[in-house]
């Protein structure tokens, strides 16, 4: 029921987010954004710092409630879901990748990748096999039993991609995935993300102001001051 695989798109209508400070409206971070993103599409959202990219991505990732407007993921209005339902929805349908990797230090690489499966109630040995396969695909098998603190930035991000993919979600959201990496590692990482997603037909939204990864995207949406300024196909 929560599974939206084979569904075509993400759709937002007049999406608006206002951050309140002491209950006075202070920042209108996202203003009236209406978007349509097709299944399997790889979209880059670019724009200067503070233009509202992360806020938009948080709303698409069901982590933040919009102030106004609707979000449909596979025809399902997620703004109508309860917190509990949203948690479940994220677990099944959305994979996250962050600028700071957000791997758990206390777990091994293998366990970090296994984590979403465990949360979904999948037990060993199935969870272990699937995590191993994901690591294999991201060329990280040799580090499976290491703790994240001994990995390089690029390796950490590959582990994070494996974690985002392992539950087979329909949508992958990445916030500045190259932000903590040097240029080469950044390019290689996004390349891997692109290949793995393409193969599975995942919809990918990457937020980044990194101009060098434009060509990996099917479409580039530029934001400025909370609004979409232009859209182009590189």
């Amino acid at each position: 029921m929560n599974d939206i695989r084979h569904c075509p798109m993400i759709e937002t209508e007049n999406l608006t987010k206002v951050y309140f400070n002491n209950s006075h409206p202070s920042v209108q971070a996202v203003k009236d954004i209406s978007l349509k993103i097709g299944q399997g599409e790889i979209v880059l959202i670019s724009g200067p710092n503070g233009s509202g990219k992360t806020t938009l991505l948080s709303m698409l990732g069901c982590l933040l409630n919009p102030h106004a407007g609707t979000i449909r993921i596979c025809g399902r209005d997620v703004t109508a879901l309860s917190q509990k339902e949203l948690t479940e929805f994220r677990l099944r349908n959305i994979g996250f990748i962050f600028q700071n990797f957000r791997l758990l230090d206390s777990l091994t690489v293998m366990e970090n990748v296994e984590l979403p499966l465990v949360l979904a109630g999948i037990r060993r040995p199935v969870s272990r096999d699937r995590a191993a396969a994901a690591l294999e695909e991201l060329k990280m098998s040799h580090r499976a039993n290491f703790y994240p603190n001994v990995l390089s930035g690029g390796e950490k991000q590959r582990v994070a991609i494996a974690r985002a993919l392992v539950n087979d979600p329909a949508v992958i959201l990445a916030d500045e995935p190259t932000g903590s990496l040097d240029s080469n590692a950044g390019q290689a990482t996004v390349q891997l993300l692109r290949e793995a997603s393409r193969k599975r037909g995942k919809t990918v939204i990457i937020v980044s102001h990194d101009e060098r990864i434009r060509h990996f995207a099917d479409r580039v949406i530029s934001m400025e001051d909370g609004r979409v300024k232009k859209e182009e196909r590189p």
Partner: protein, 368 residues
């Protein structure tokens, strides 16, 4: 399953060992208190339990040995002996005598008993014989150790010199110990030759204490009679009203300290690993899962602390017993279970603050 809680604990070993160690000390304190309590309880009823009296006769308002004054004619013994079902009767006299031992002022809890009677003798003699003569004393082992006395030493009581003839054990009264002398000497010290405090009765085979007491109450309406079991209970009640509140206060303080300690570990984890918890929330961890992660950390810390406490108690109790001669510590399975239950309760209470903190972490924080 991935043991997330265990891994999080292990990542912060120092914090874990400080918490478990602190809780271990708390556990040890609680075990030790209960042990002392049980020791005092058994010690202060030891004489009543072992002196072979089936019925205790006291002056009407007296109920126990420790803190009530009871006086009655010694001659009542002959009357009691004639009653149906009574095999023998013997009087004992309890007096408080102030004296000095090796320069230190001491109040003696002095019992006079008739060495020719089978009833009323101090039951466990470890040095010398219970059949003492005039001018002789039997002291408790703890008492002897406290004042460094050995058989043959003398104590002056009300101007008369008494010689320690025997040493016994199990003659405790909460924090002091009973000292035994002959009934005649005790009566002389009191100044009334034909007075006793209690009459101890033993029964013929087949007679029941309840029936005998019913008859005795009819013939002696101004006296109180208790079965052995009732008299033990009375003495326990008397003791407990004195010391129980102190025990509870210390135990409660221990519990609060324990809860604070155990809260520290998951609370520290939630504070420092805030982004880890935010990540778990973001990628779809249910509240129940996160609650278990916290509770498990508390539980692991508590159980480890309990084990450490148990080990500390086993190692340190004998040392303390050597250092404090008057002390008797009795470890019971019940006490261990009670303390374990308390530790689990502490774990639960200690989880409250971190769980509250956890509920204020938003999944959105992963983007920071």
């Amino acid at each position: 399953m991935i043991p997330v809680a265990r891994r999080m604990i292990w990542r912060e070993k120092a914090r874990f060992f400080i918490t478990a160690g602190g809780l271990g000390l708390t556990t040890m304190l609680m075990l030790f208190l209960l042990g002392v309590y049980e020791g005092v309880k058994r010690g202060s009823t030891g004489y009543v339990r072992e002196c072979r009296a089936d019925i205790w006769a006291c002056e009407s308002n007296s109920t126990n040995l420790l803190r009530s004054s009871s006086f009655m004619p010694a001659s009542l013994g002959t009357e009691f002996q004639k009653a149906d079902g009574v095999r023998s009767a013997a009087g004992i006299l309890r007096i408080l005598a102030t004296t000095k031992i090796k320069g230190k002022p001491v109040t003696l809890f002095l019992f006079g008993f008739d060495p020719r009677e089978p009833l009323g003798k101090p039951p466990r003699i470890i040095k010398g014989r219970a059949e003492i003569g005039p001018g002789e004393l039997i002291v408790d082992r703890a008492f002897a150790a406290k004042f460094k006395l050995i058989p043959g030493d003398s104590i002056e009581i009300h101007g008369r010199s008494f010689r320690i003839a025997a040493v016994g054990e199990g003659m405790n009264a909460v924090v002091t110990q009973f000292v035994f002398t002959t009934l005649e000497d005790a009566q002389k010290l009191l100044g009334f030759p034909s007075v006793v405090s209690f009459h101890l009765l033993s029964l013929n085979p087949g007679a029941t204490a309840e029936t005998v007491i019913r008859d005795l109450k009819k013939s002696h309406p101004t006296l109180s009679f208790f079965t052995k079991k009732e008299f033990i209970r009375n003495n326990l009640d008397e003791m407990e009203t004195g010391v129980l509140p102190i025990f509870w206060t210390i135990a409660l303080l221990g519990g609060i300290i324990g809860a604070a300690l155990i809260a520290l570990m998951p609370y520290g984890s939630v504070l420092e690993k805030r982004e880890d918890y935010a990540l778990l929330k973001a990628i779809g961890a249910r509240s129940r899962f996160l609650l278990f992660v916290i509770l498990k950390q508390s539980l692991i810390g508590s159980v480890a602390g309990f084990m450490i406490g148990l080990a500390l108690d086993a190692v340190l109790s004998p040392v303390l017993l050597k250092l404090v001669p008057g002390l008797s510590v009795v470890m019971t399975l019940r006490a261990v279970i009670v303390v374990f239950a308390a530790v689990l309760l502490i774990a639960g209470l200690g989880s409250w603050a971190p769980v509250r903190k956890l509920s204020r972490i938003f999944p959105m924080e992963v983007f920071r």
